[in-house]
């Protein structure tokens, strides 16, 4: 079992809730297993709450690129919500490059969504989606729905 930010019981999944503004109860019946890679704790927690409110499961939250790569094998995520600027060490783009061919869908979540950085992200993960920070629930829902359709 992978440890989590607030508790040690991540991985069981939990009942979807509609406590996030803008999220209705029509959650997806086929939950995705999501990994969050984000170095800002509040952004990570917010993404986690949004993902779970949309009816999906957060397998693990990693705060840096190396931790994310180390955890992928155990967590076996369908999708990674991947921050680009992860402070020191590997960037989100580096992580995406190293995961190429592993069948994990990448959704970049970044403040660096200008054309130049978009090109870098797309080069690293051609099938990626890119969400601009701060993320709105409907954008996240659309990105997850797209991946959900492709995965299931």
């Amino acid at each position: 079992m992978v440890p989590t930010l607030f508790s040690d019981d991540r991985g069981r999944g939990r009942a979807p809730s509609s406590s996030i503004p803008g999220v209705t109860d029509d959650v997806d019946p086929r939950p995705l297993n999501v990994m969050i890679v984000e170095d800002e704790v509040f952004v990570a927690l917010h993404l986690e709450a949004m993902v779970e409110s949309l009816g999906h499961t957060v397998a693990i939250i990693a705060s840096n690129g190396q931790a994310a790569l180390d955890a992928v094998a155990e967590a076996e995520p369908d999708l990674i919500l991947l921050d680009v600027n992860l402070g020191d060490g590997l960037s989100g783009v580096d992580v995406a490059e190293r995961l190429e061919g592993r069948g994990v869908r990448i959704v970049f979540v970044t403040a660096y969504a200008d054309a130049e950085n978009r090109a870098r992200m797309t080069a690293a993960a051609p099938a990626c989606r890119i969400l601009s920070k701060p993320v709105e629930t409907h954008s996240l829902r659309r990105a997850l729905d797209d991946v959900d359709g492709a995965v299931h």
């Binding site: 440890p3 930010l5 607030f6 406590s19 996030i20 170095d39 800002e40 704790v41 509040f42 952004v43 990570a44 927690l45 917010h46 993404l47 709450a49 939250i61 705060s63 600027n85 402070g87 403040a111 660096y112 200008d114 601009s132 920070k133 701060p134 993320v135």
Partner: protein, 347 residues
Amino acid sequence: MTRPDLAPILQNVLDAVIVMGRDGTVQDWNAGAHRIFGWRREEAINGRMSSLIIPFQHRAAHERGLQHYLATGEGPVLGRRIEITAVTRDGREIPVELSIIAVGEGDEEVFLGFIRDISERKAAEAALAAEKAALEVEVVRREAVERHQALLLAEMNHRVKNMLAVVTGLAMQTGLNSPSVEAFMHSFSGRLASMSRSYGLVTEANWSRTELRRLVEDQLAAHLDPAEGRIDISGDPIALSPRQALSISMVLHELATNAVKHGALAEPAGRIEVAWRRLPGEPAQLELEWRETGAASPAEAVSSKPGFGSKMIGAVVRHDLKGELTREWNPSGLSCRIVAPLPEDTS
């Protein structure tokens, strides 16, 4: 109508007009030549041209050129306008424009030199060139400044978006864990104010290393007047990275808020001790201890469900600081110990 004689006219034109014979001596020297070179006509006539106005370093070449012309009839400088330097009576070397023509034949042949002092024009050209070079440097500098400004703006845009994402997350988490709008407003504004203060300190340190003591003093001063003497702060000098500084500030804010609500700072006799030290190792680690004494009802704190603030402390320590957190509710109050890796150059 009588055709005017050129000779007296040439005597008075502004340029220097010099007549040189085949033997290299001056045969005539007009007023312009006097004005430019300083030699009077009677001083110049019969003097060697090369000694009068040719700079020392060019004299041998001048003599060789004259001999070559006399021997072969080839004079590459004849009939052309060239720019060279000439020397004046007082030894100044000045830029001049020179044209030479050969007039007459055989032994009667003489060389007519027309010389214009172009010092002012050259100085103006040099000034213009210097100005142009300075302008080019300025253009390059401004382009660099503009590029730098564009980079800063882009970076600011990224940071603002990141910060908005953090604030959104903070608002959501605070909101989801607040029993009322009033409680949300109180907690959220306190957390924002704490973040704002720690950003101030990190910016003051030029986003380099920030002293832990300053963070501790700053966060605690927001909750309790240090003059009351209820807080004891001690520890090694430890400089933190900006990220660590912001995270530790957040932890200190939550600990202090909890102490004010339920812990030592809720009681007049309550005290807080904050102590830290560097633990040697690779990497070195920070050990920070927060000890409350004189809390009224620590048993109550133990039995009650940990609030969002307490959970947040754990999340920040694990996620942001990559550290470990241990908490104990002793009879005298809360004790909290954080151990987290330090950046390499914090000594």
